[in-house]
């Protein structure tokens, strides 16, 4: 029994490693694969028991997403999804832009100045990362109803600051802190004011960091679900909320829901591959470099 040659042991080890790697891959990728498959199914294949791996694929669900009509089927489903997609873009871009504009000077102040309350302020900002949304969304909801901000892009962009602003400031601060003080001092000796230091030294040197912050901020906004769930209406729903709308009075459009899932996730997947080196840093607000 125990008389295994070293090469035999080696083989067993390699097979075990390969199996483990395959299992990990399967666990990670299979849900995507299955949803892709589901999104290509017609209504007849959708609910078959047992589930079908082989079927004649159709793009009807995607067509329905864009054109609001599934040929020969639910002729009445309206094409809301392009609007939701556009809303996601408008709100995410708006929220990130606002956060960057307010966040750059704030991060600069936190990175390069000492002042009373500095660490307290930084902690307050950090704590926003952990707030339960409901504590903010209840009063916001009531306020927005009164102020007419309910179901508007502006209202959502403001609410999204809860997600993006603390993140932006912490991320930028960690990038700004990486720039050696010596460069900054040299610029000051050359007669640069604080503004000059910021625009001529800090910003150019941290351009990669700013891009990463923008992209990650965009991803987090795109992922937001609960704020728009309560604060948006049909005209301003982003894709995350849109994806749960495929339940109507008479039927659930599982195929369209799957297609919507794929479309909603696509920008994320592309963007996250672009910034993959920085994702961990972003998710910990710069705590892990």
């Amino acid at each position: 029994m125990s008389a295994q040659t070293p090469s035999h042991q080696h083989l067993v080890r390699n097979v075990a490693i390969a199996l483990a790697a395959a299992l990990l891959l399967l666990w990670t990728v299979f849900p995507f694969f299955w949803i892709l498959l589901t999104s290509l199914k017609g209504p007849g294949d959708m609910l078959s028991v047992p589930p079908k791996f082989v079927f004649s694929p159709t793009l009807d669900n995607y067509a329905a997403l864009v054109m609001g009509e599934q040929r020969g089927q639910y002729s009445s489903t309206r094409p809301d999804f392009p609007l939701f997609f556009l809303n996601s873009i408008i709100i995410s871009v708006g929220a990130v832009a606002l956060s960057i504009v307010a966040g750059i000077p704030a991060a600069y102040a936190l990175a390069r100045f000492d002042f009373p309350l500095k660490s307290g302020l930084a902690f307050v900002l950090m704590s926003f990362r952990f707030v339960p949304f409901i504590a903010f969304v209840i009063p916001l909801y009531l306020l927005y109803q009164r102020l007419g901000l309910y179901n508007t892009h502006a209202g959502l962009i403001f609410a999204y600051q809860l997600i993006t602003l603390p993140f932006t400031i912490w991320m930028l601060r960690s990038f700004f802190q990486e720039i050696p003080l010596e460069i900054q001092e040299a610029a000051k000796i050359d007669g640069c004011s604080w503004l000059g230091v910021l625009t001529k030294v800090i910003l150019p040197l941290s351009m990669p960091g700013i891009s990463v912050t923008v992209i990650l901020g965009f991803i987090f906004c795109w992922n937001a679900f609960n704020y728009p769930l309560m604060l948006a209406g049909r005209q301003t729903f982003p894709v995350t909320v849109g994806a749960i709308q495929f339940i109507s009075y008479e039927q659930v459009l599982w195929g369209q829901m799957a297609a919507a899932t794929i479309v909603a996730a696509l920008p994320q997947l592309v963007l996250s591959l672009m910034v993959q080196k920085y994702i961990v840093r972003g998710l910990t607000m710069g705590a892990v470099k």
Binding site: P43, G44, L47, S48, V49, G72, Q73, S75, S76, T77, R78, Y141, Q145, R146, G148, Y150, N151, L229, G233, R234, Q235, I244, Q245, I247, S248, Y249, E250, Q251, V252
Partner: protein, 467 residues
Amino acid sequence: MNVQRRWINRLLLSSPLAMGGALCARAQDDAALAYYREAKINWKQADGQSLTIGLNKHPFTESLLPLIPEFRRLTGINVEYLILPEAEYFTKLVADLSQQRGEFSVIMTGPMRNWQYVPPDWILPLDGFLNNAKLTDPNWFKLDDFYPALIKANRWDGKTGGGVGEGPLYSIPVLAETYILAYRKDLFDQYNIKVPTTLEEMAEAAALVKKNAGIPGIVARGTPSVASMGTGFLSGLKSYTDGQWSEFDGKMNANFHDPRSVKYTELWINMVRDSGPPNWANMQWYDAMEAFTAGQAGMIADADFFAANYEDPKKSKVAGKVGYALIPPGPGGKTYSGLWTWALGISKATKNKDAAWLFVQWATAQRTLLNATLGYRNYNPSRQSITNDPRVQEIMGSWGNGSYLKVLAKNLETARVAWTPQPERTRLGDIWARALHEVYFKRLSAADALKKASVEMDKVLKEAGIK
């Protein structure tokens, strides 16, 4: 049958009636408007005003949207709309109504919902509009074309604990929903199962289907929400007690722990636990409906018009194999089905009230509703003339080999709103549904769970100042 249906659809599409989407040629458009212009009112009296309509995601809604430009040409009124799925819709609606900002002028509501909106004075009675010759041509609108039971359901005198069918009319019904038993006729025939006429027989039939066919004998809604309570379960309970039991005693004390209610709950939950699907506790209406449509259940006691789905050969595996029957009656031999109507009402805070009424009148006119039924499967029609339309008869008449229409007609004789009017119906229903879970998961006996629920409900009613 398949071919025939398609042929009918094509015929419909080429007729001027199906205005949905593509067909908007001018000549046909004028023909369409001509019908509305027969009304002896000035449609242009609110020219230039604007309305926002709050709509639930629904076939009726879908049928309206392509017609809105037509409404604008008829009246000169601008219409904006907000469409949401049911749960989100009612949340936003309460939020808007409670602020009285008048964001929604016309709303989609219904009997039980009105009980929530009438006491705080959020929606308008419609009788004033109906009786105003300047705004309504009664001979053209024909309120008596609507099934009387549906109009009654939308009347309420505003008194907690009763008064349905009395007092002002708060909304105009656009469809009718009653509750019936749909069963797999093929399986019942194959295994010699009798169509149940009592709750006990229903449980037996469910067990037999499960034993013989290896699929759940019954599917039903089971999520812990009011949405699970009002259809098959409540209709069954009302029938089981010969219409005698109601949620409250004479003093508005919750009566859910009444011995008859306890007995019924035990029977129902045992049936669902023994012969139902394993995931009953997470079943939404659509899960139940889809399971039955996919051939994965022997029976379903729920909304009648789900038949439109069961009988659609394109997505149903049971088309043509379904039989329809009344929900099993109680000892008295009568079925007491619940009733729901989606209906259009008007928010009190709206500025353009006349314009809002013109919209309601137009949207519930015979021609508009006929189009919704033929082109968008808006079942069951709320107007008798639409049910009697030969084209509608041909479609609905084919369901269950004609048994559907017969059962529906019989059901409509006694169907009525099953709930007792009070503003906290949603909350109480949620508590009730949670009690069923306690029984289903054997945490508590039916008697204890329902007693606990009654106590909690009394607390809520007291807190809300209802009793």
